[in-house]
């Protein structure tokens, strides 16, 4: 399909999927002219980001591509946010724990969460436990998402989780970041772990108690001495990742 053949919805979807800012502007101008509703804009942006996410699940790609797509999606969301009703999927408070200033991964995850329909409250980086708790109380969020790229703030993450479980036991906690894996996440008290933004959706569905739209099978092939990870999404096997 050439850009001349596209309707505004296609333009917005393709803009995010192919990281094309000209197409995004074109689609948003159509919104300004009233040719497309805010709900349709949102749906198109989400489809675009889901395309990127699925593409990266099938064939691993560089982070910067997801980052640029998230950036475009956020530009689009900013434009229509005021015209949209509250998010039906609920609210998430997200931030990088105290002692860490790396927020790239968190920013991508926040973008993907927004694309998945969550209302995201982003507290930024180097966030203390009491700031997380205050934000959860203020926003009435049901999910707390914590990130760190370093091993040194893991103790702070553990403390934040413990305080949150004590003071707000109904809040579910999801964690991610370079020094973590599923086992470590479980050992510090998290309810779920997402290896990356690509695998975020099943983890979010797990803590929301929903029937997952994607399923991850993981097992160790002792014969070949490898861990095999298979992701089934939308009824189809979309990735067979094999890792050590």
């Amino acid at each position: 399909m050439t850009s001349e053949d596209m309707n505004p919805s296609n333009e917005l979807e393709t803009a995010v999927a192919d990281r094309n800012s000209d197409l995004l502007q074109k689609g948003l101008e159509a919104f300004d002219r009233g040719e497309i509703s805010p709900e349709e804009v949102l749906a198109a942006l989400i489809r675009g980001l889901q395309t990127v996410r699925k593409r990266m699940a099938a064939v691993a790609g560089p982070v910067v591509e997801l980052l640029l797509s998230v950036d475009l999606m956020n530009q689009g969301l900013e434009k229509v946010k005021a015209s949209l009703p509250p998010s039906p999927k609920g609210r998430v408070v997200i931030g990088v724990v105290k002692g860490d200033v790396h927020d790239l991964g968190k920013n991508i995850v926040a973008g993907v969460m927004a694309a998945c329909g969550f209302d995201v409250v982003d507290l930024g980086l180097d966030v203390a436990t009491d700031e997380f708790i205050a934000a959860l109380k203020r926003t009435d969020a049901g999910v707390l998402a914590l990130s760190t790229m370093m091993s040194t703030p893991l103790e702070n993450m553990r403390e934040t989780i413990a305080v949150c479980h004590r003071e707000m036991p109904h809040v579910k906690i999801i964690v991610g970041g370079a020094p973590l894996d599923a086992k470590l996440a479980e050992s510090i008290g998290a309810d779920a772990y997402a290896e990356s933004a690509v695998f975020l959706l099943p983890a979010m569905e797990k803590i929301a108690g929903e029937q997952p739209s994607a399923r991850i099978d993981a097992y160790t092939d002792y014969e070949r001495k490898v861990k095999v990870v298979t992701v089934h999404e939308d009824g189809e096997k979309s990735r067979k990742g094999v890792d050590a």
């Binding site: 982070v63 910067v64 893991l154 370079a178 094999v242």
Partner: protein, 385 residues
């Protein structure tokens, strides 16, 4: 000239520049060490050099990479470790003496170079030094053109690291192989810009980024040369951006590839061994080998073109010595038994015919107990034969 340097080093009881020794002679020495290793214990240095020539030493060498983590052995604080060559040298020395290991990589943190280019820093009491990202040196795309090379004599943190290399080369002598450390130009620039904006700049303004790389690389070449001149036999270059964790392969090759080659060439011209460290996901081994021709690559995750460690060994095992790749989360939460089991698994697959050094995928987590480090060393001793 090269032989003069070798003889002068030997006369001074220092390790000669390994790269100046003719390869057949290196192979012969490695083969003899391999034979000797069957009946007696090799020194750490012999063990590593034999491995790098892809011969089997007495056992698989191990590098626990307990750098900042070892500061508590001496009661040194994080800021002291980052800013004092003497205190850092005591920490690295204690790491080898207390925990063990056959290879030391003198990596303080990833902001050494950026700090000297004017980046404001934060030195936390209980964590690694890092840039103050609220005050980036590169505030917009136009700032890339303003960067100028810095004479090494006028640097602060880089001079600290050079002094550290000098002390450690003298202290370790013929016992343990010591490697210097240089953060690649893209890494240095990202520390002055912030990763997120920098990623986008690489995609949207590659010419401006490359212009800044020119200025930074001129300094990094002089930095690497100065490290080699202290007598350390190797220098490790960190090219984190050559992985799926950052840029597309062709973008990395276009932007950093030529500059990474310049730095590795200058190390080689000094007779040094070239190491690469990269703890990203889906590392571009092929591109990095093409541009930098390293002797060793340290990695935390499999390369983008290998699905299993067996494939990694088959594809790259002859071309380069592999250093890795015990996962950081396992070191944090695993029992010593679990760490040792993982080490045995890796030694079984990657250790055959030399060319493998057991190590964590990245620096040993600085704020955890040494149990996992001891497990690494023990695993090499027990299963590395």
């Amino acid at each position: 000239m090269r032989f003069q340097k070798i003889f002068r080093s030997l006369k001074d009881r220092r390790i000669p520049p390994v790269g100046f020794i003719p390869e057949p002679l290196q192979d012969l020495a490695a083969r003899l060490a391999g034979y000797r290793g069957r009946i007696s214990r090799l020194s750490s240095l012999e063990r590593v050099l034999t491995t790098i020539r892809h011969k089997e030493p007495d056992r698989v060498p191990v590098a626990p990479l307990v750098n900042a983590g070892a500061r508590c052995i001496n009661g040194v604080t994080f800021p002291e470790y980052s800013r004092s060559a003497e205190k850092a040298a005591d920490v690295f020395t204690s790491s080898v003496e207390f925990i063990g290991g056959d290879l030391i990589v003198l990596m303080l943190d990833l902001s050494v170079e950026a700090a000297d280019f004017g980046q404001q820093m934060i030195y936390p009491e209980n964590s690694t030094a890092h840039p103050d990202y609220t005050r980036p040196t590169i505030r917009d795309v136009d700032d890339y053109a303003k960067l100028r090379p810095i004479p090494i004599s006028e640097t602060g943190r880089m001079n600290t690291l050079i002094r550290l290399c000098h002390i450690m080369a003298g202290r370790m002598g013929w016992k343990t192989l010591v490697s210097g450390f240089v953060y690649g130009p893209l890494g240095v620039l990202s520390m002055m810009r912030g990763a997120q904006l920098f990623f986008k700049d690489c995609m949207q303004y590659p010419k401006q980024v490359m212009k800044a790389c020119e200025a930074v690389t001129e300094t990094l070449v002089a930095f690497a040369e100065a490290q080699c001149d202290t007598g350390v036999p190797a220098v490790t270059i960190d090219t984190l951006y050559a992985s799926h964790s950052a840029l597309p392969k062709q973008v990395w090759e276009a932007i950093e590839g030529p500059f990474a080659r310049e730095i590795s060439n200058c190390i080689r011209k000094k007779g040094g061994l070239v190491g690469i460290h990269n703890c990203g996901h889906g590392i571009y081994f092929d591109a990095q080998i093409n541009w930098m021709a390293p002797h060793v690559i340290s990695f935390a995750h499999l390369p983008d073109d290998c699905a299993t460690p067996r494939e990694l060994k088959r594809r790259y095992g002859d071309a380069v010595t592999l250093v890795g790749y015990v996962p950081t989360p396992l070191l944090v939460h695993g029992t010593p038994r679990q760490v040792m089991d993982e080490c045995r698994r890796q030694i079984d697959v990657l250790g055959r015919d030399g060319g493998f050094i057991l190590a964590p995928g990245c620096e040993y987590p600085p704020n955890i107990s040494f149990n996992s480090a001891f497990a690494l060393v023990k695993a090499a001793e027990l299963y590395g034969h």
